[in-house]
Every structure is written in structure tokens, then in C-alpha cells.
Point group: C2
Chain length 398, copies 2
């Protein structure tokens, strides 16, 4: 992506995405390969009046080198200024832009998953506290790379794979139309309206039923469905993901029961997990099996007490563009917006009422996995035993 | 540079250069283009027992975008965590590796020099305090890039220019021999011996005489010549520059008199200054003229009170390899080690006795410019009026 298309993308990221305000500091987390987008976004942020654009280039190859070479007992060490960078940005009410993937899918293949799981960078526990404080307007957006394209389109030669991935990103980001900003404002309004209707129903639980899936996810009394954008404590609207097609909430971490099968592979910080099957009892993932990569996920779910409980349940309809490409991107930003999904680990405090914030799940991890497809029926269970169809054949029923 | 040569270079950098110790944090400052060296150095640091390698990729293109787009009144803003990163590394007695150039020569050409001079990043005032505290073992080393090669060898096409620059770096880094580490230990010992003899003489001043140069630089009573390597407060030997060919000290900031002409162009954070002529009176640069780029240097010399006074005087003989290439690299690391030079701005506290640390120059800048050649005679002036030849025709006389 370059030239006029790159400029339009940068405008979308700094505008409808992060909605950078005059006087703000902007932290941009990206791999060194994403430098062209970082530079274009920086120009756009400064043009919007940003006081400082701070590129945090995270090098996934150095992460791999660390897992291979460093003393295993040191892999959880994080320098003192890493959390400060986030917390001080939050205190300054700055903006955050994250360019995905930080760690290309498959980059950690061959590294002992138990070791790879100890180094969580560039993720930091403090990300969640800054998100939950709603002090920063932020957006996660994709950038195509050769390494990623090779995993998404292994049947093509490297140049063709990159060209195809880039074209898919232009499509799912709605950059092919005249006015991507207007298209996202419209889609955001739709998602907000469905979220409002879902919240109104005050379901006690959601039930997922489909091939090898029969799962009930309990909700909290104040679980609030959210989608189509967020607003900071200062009233700044932003879209935390671009593309975004999901409606999500924070469930009851103690009331998930049954079995669920992933409908797409997922990438766990560089290790691809395929054919994932998880059994829950009392809210906890008591069994994690997969055709490949199960150990990488198990290692992360052993990080802390909340790492094996759910922090998010999200619904996606068939109207989004990601699912229509038919591609598995091995990238959570895209794949989670192609299908209904769950996340193990930390929950979003903003998705429940103030009085229940202490009940949501807390963890140092947050790993999404896709469980939805047109074959998976989603039903709302009411506290008086009623059943209300929510998604059938990928279409909203409410 | 790649493969076995890159590995040998990385070993030299982490070994004889920064001398990374088990348990240390290592901050690596580099442009995104230097990722191959950063990754190889990171592997070497971890193999030596480093606890964490922290790549700080500084993007010079974002610096240019800022100078072009940002509100001029915001250009001196630096986020609170930038100095913390350095100060906390110093407090932890970590290691620092800096890959030069951060900002390729000429990258800021066309930007208003008055604006470009306000943003000093990636330089920070705190660099000097960490250096002067001698808590970190550190090294600055070069990495070839296309942009740099185009400036150093404009007569060649881009690929040939890069090939030539890379070959020159291999030569000046002594990587062409069997054992670069041994070669540097030997050269370091020579430089230390000359520095010891120069210090013993207790000169009151140094006099430079050559074409359009007639300059006297007063020394402090405890000015100590240093070269060939440094030692931290913990006793860790390291070479702060690779290549290093200089013997330097901190002069009396109040006693520089006369005129001096630069013998090579210099790059001031992206602006090339050619044909520089500076007049000093009472220690202060009272006139800065040049055939090109004078304004960039003048803007920096107006940063603070010490920015127009000398912080360093350095002598270089003809035995080093950099001068032998005949190339002007437009890169201070290399060019300053090709010729005797002065630096405007902050001085090294470690080059004077404890009792005179309050007398050396302090500033937020430190800009080297080359004033030596085989045609420039350097003479030591003793406090009783004696004159002792120091360098004649590029050879040591003492």
C-alpha cells in the first residue's frame, strides 16, 4: 500500500479509528516492517494537532531470539519503563494506535511453547487497566507483510500472496469505496443499535449450538453488549478495531459450561493452534485439546488464576466483509471480526455496571478464539427459562 | 552484511564494544533499517547472559514528518518516559548500544533548520548524565544504509554505493582480519599509552595551526586525555566507539581563542554543513559561517548558554583506517575518528578531576566538527610559555 491509498488509510486510522485530538500524545505500536504506515499515520496525527507521535517499534524477531537464547528464568522480566510508557500516556489522556500483527503468525513455530508463553511482550497487564480506565482513544488496525501473507495464502508465491492479502485488507477496511469514514460511521451505528437491543433483553446466558459445540456462557446481571465504537471519559468517540464487526460483553467468569470447538485456527503470539476443542466446567477451561499447537494455549492458560476463564463473549453476523473473503487470516483482529468468538483471560470492565466490576474476570492474558459460523445457532436464555433466538444462519433474530 | 560476517560483527559489538555482562539490561538505539544488526546483536547479548534486550527503534522519517507538520511551539516536547528509560537503565547499571546513523545524513534537507533544531531526539540531556555517571558500559557502532551510502558516494548507483560503504565499514571496523577483537584490544592499548603521555605533560593549552586555522584551546588544570576505551564504576571495560581512533579531553570552556576551519563536512542531525568556519573569543563561538548549512549549526548553538562553548577537544593520528579510505562519510562516528576535532556543547565529566567537574561545559547539545588533517600542526603550550610539538604531518611527536 502506498501513495494516495496509503494516505487515505492513514486518514482513516487517525480519524474514524483513533480520532486523534489536538494536543494529544499518540503511542503507535508496530513492527519495524510497518514503518510506511507508521510514517503516514504520524503525518496525519501531526496534521490533526498531535503534540507528539511516539513510535514503539516492537521487533518480533528479537522476541524469538530471546525465547531461543535467554535464560528461561528471565523470560518474564519487563523493564520498569515499559508499564510507565502506558500508564503515563493514560494519565495524559493520550491516544494509542496499534498495528497488527505485532508478531506475524507462525513466527514462533519451533520455539518451546512453554518458553514462548512466558514472554508476553508487547502485551502488558497495564494495557488492560488503561483500556478499562477509558482515558485513551485507541484503534487496532492491520498492515500486510510478506511473513503474514505467506501464512494466510501458502498456495501463492510470496509476491502474489502479499498482493492478495493487501487487496483483502483494502476490501475489509472499506477503503475500496469513495468514503471509508462514512461507511464505518454507518456500520458503527448498525452495530450500536443491535448491541442496544441485545442489552435490553437482559439474558441470563447465551447458548451456542453447532458441530461439536454445545456451550452455555452465563452473563452477569449488568453485562452490557457493546459494538461499533467506544467513547472515552472525555467524550472522544473512537473505533477500537478497524475493521470491527463484533458485538461483545464481559460474561460471568464462573458460569460457562459445556464444550466448544473453534471454527477457525488462531495464532497465539506466533504459534498457530488448529482444531481447538475446549471443555468448560464451573467457568473454567478444564480441557484444552487441538490438532496442533494446544500446548501454546495451555501454557498461557496456566499463567494465572483467571487465564482459564472467559473474559469476553462476542457475536458477529454475516454482514461483515471479513467472513465473505473466505480467508483464514491467522490474525485475531481480522478473524475475530469474521465470526462469533470467546476470549480467555481479562475482561472489559466497561462492559458491566459499576457495581459488578469486581466480579468480572482478571488475568494477564486475553486470547480470542473463534467459535461462530453460519452453522452455529446462538440463543439467549432468560432467567425464567425462556429461549430467544439471537443468531440463525448468521443473521440477527432480534 | 549478513551471515557469518554479520555474526562476527555482532560478537564484536556485544563483546569488545559494549562488553555486555550476565544479568544486564541492554538498550539498543537504532533506526528501523538497522533491524538485521539489532537482531544479531540481541542474540549475542542473550548468549552472554543479558536479562533483556530493549530495541529502541527511532524512526528518522517520523522526526522529519514532525518538523514539517507539527505546531512549531511543540517541537521541544519529550514524553516523560523517554528520560526515564535512560535514567532507570543507568540506575540498573545496564548496557547501551547505539547504531549510527540514527538520522541519515541529509534526511532533514529542506526542513527549516530553526525548526529542525528544536527537536533534539533521539538525543536527550539525560544521555550525558548517564555517560558521566559511568554506570553503563556502552558502544556506538555503524550500520550501512542506502540513504547514507547515497550521500557518502553520490557518484555511484545506489547498489554500488551501498556495497562500497559496507566494504569500507568492514575495513575500518577491522572485520577483514581473523580476529577483530584482538586488533581492537591492541589499538586500544596504543591509544591509552599516548593518552597517558599527553596527560603527563599537563599542557595549559593546545594550539592548532593550518590552512585558515589558528586556534588556541585552553585546558583545565586536571584535564585528562582519554582514548582506547573506558571503564565503568563497576570496572567493566568497554569501547564507547567502534571504530575508535581518538584521544580526547574536556577543555576549559572559557579559554578558546581564534579561528578554525572544518576540514570535513559534518552532518547536523540530517543537515549537511560544508565549509564551516568558526571564530572563538573568550571561549564562545562568536561567528559561525559556512558554505552550506550554517543556520542548522547556529540554531543548535543558540539552544542554551553552553551550546556555543567547547565540550571536547580530540586528537587523531594518521594510523587509523578511516582517514586512509579518503571518504567523507558525513557521519560523526566515522569522520571524528578520521581527524582531530572539537565538539560544541556538553563536556565529559570523566575527563577532568573531581575538583574541576563544576568547571566543564554543560549543554543539551554535543556536536563534533573535524578540524584536523596532515596539514594541521598541533602544539602543546605549557604554562611557562613553552611549546611542545604534539602532532606533525599526522604523526605523534611525544
Amino acid at each position: 500500500m502506498q501513495g494516495e491509498l496509503l494516505e487515505r488509510y492513514a486518514k482513516l486510522v487517525a480519524g474514524v479509528g483513533a480520532n486523534v485530538q489536538p494536543g494529544q500524545q499518540v503511542l503507535v505500536i508496530a513492527g519495524p516492517h510497518a514503518a510506511p504506515l507508521v510514517r503516514a499515520v504520524a503525518a496525519e496525527c501531526y496534521a490533526r494537532g498531535a503534540v507528539f507521535v511516539d513510535p514503539w517499534y516492537f521487533d518480533p524477531h528479537v522476541k524469538r531470539v530471546r525465547a531461543e537464547e535467554a535464560d528461561p528464568d528471565t523470560l518474564e522480566f519487563v523493564p520498569s519503563w515499559y508499564p510507565k510508557r502506558l500508564l503515563e500516556l493514560g494519565a495524559a489522556h493520550g491516544s494509542r494506535i496499534s498495528i497488527s500483527p505485532n508478531v506475524p503468525p507462525g513466527l514462533l513455530d519451533g520455539v518451546d511453547p512453554a518458553l514462548a508463553g512466558r514472554d508476553q511482550l508487547p502485551s502488558l497487564q497495564e494495557h488492560f487497566s488503561v483500556i478499562n480506565a477509558k482515558t485513551t482513544n485507541w484503534s487496532v488496525v492491520p498492515w500486510p507483510t510478506e511473513e503474514w501473507a505467506a501464512v494466510a495464502h501458502p498456495e501463492l508465491d510470496p509476491a502474489a500472496a502479499l498482493t492478495k492479502l493487501e487487496a483483502e485488507l483494502v476490501y475489509v477496511l472499506r477503503l475500496d469505496g469513495d468514503d471509508a469514514a462514512a461507511a464505518w460511521r454507518e456500520r458503527g451505528a448498525e452495530l450500536k443499535e443491535v448491541a442496544r437491543r441485545l442489552t435490553e433483553r437482559r439474558f441470563d446466558a447465551l447458548h451456542f449450538e453447532g458441530p461439536r459445540t454445545d456451550l452455555t456462557v452465563g452473563l452477569l446481571a449488568t453485562s452490557r453488549f457493546t459494538g461499533g465504537g467506544s467513547t472515552t471519559v472525555d467524550g472522544i468517540d473512537h473505533m477500537s478495531n478497524l475493521p470491527t464487526e463484533e458485538i461483545f460483553t464481559s460474561p460471568d467468569p464462573a458460569r460457562t459450561e459445556g464444550v466448544v470447538s473453534a471454527t477457525k485456527p488462531l495464532d497465539v503470539s506466533g504459534t498457530v493452534v488448529e482444531g481447538l476443542r475446549v471443555r468448560f466446567a464451573g467457568g473454567r477451561a478444564v480441557s484444552i485439546e487441538a490438532d496442533a499447537g494446544a500446548e501454546a494455549l495451555r501454557a498461557r492458560c496456566a499463567k494465572d488464576d483467571g487465564a482459564s476463564r472467559l473474559g469476553e463473549v462476542a457475536l458477529v453476523d454475516r454482514e461483515g466483509r471479513i467472513g465473505k473473503t473466505g480467508t483464514v487470516f491467522f490474525n485475531t483482529l481480522l478473524d475475530e471480526n469474521a465470526a462469533s468468538h470467546l476470549a480467555l483471560g481479562n475482561a472489559y470492565a466497561t462492559a458491566v455496571g459499576e457495581e459488578e466490576r469486581s466480579r468480572i474476570n482478571t488475568s494477564s492474558i486475553h486470547i480470542d478464539f473463534m467459535i461462530g459460523s453460519d452453522d452455529v445457532a446462538v440463543t439467549g436464555l432468560t432467567s425464567d427459562g425462556g429461549e430467544v433466538p439471537v443468531l440463525r444462519d448468521g443473521r440477527w433474530q432480534i
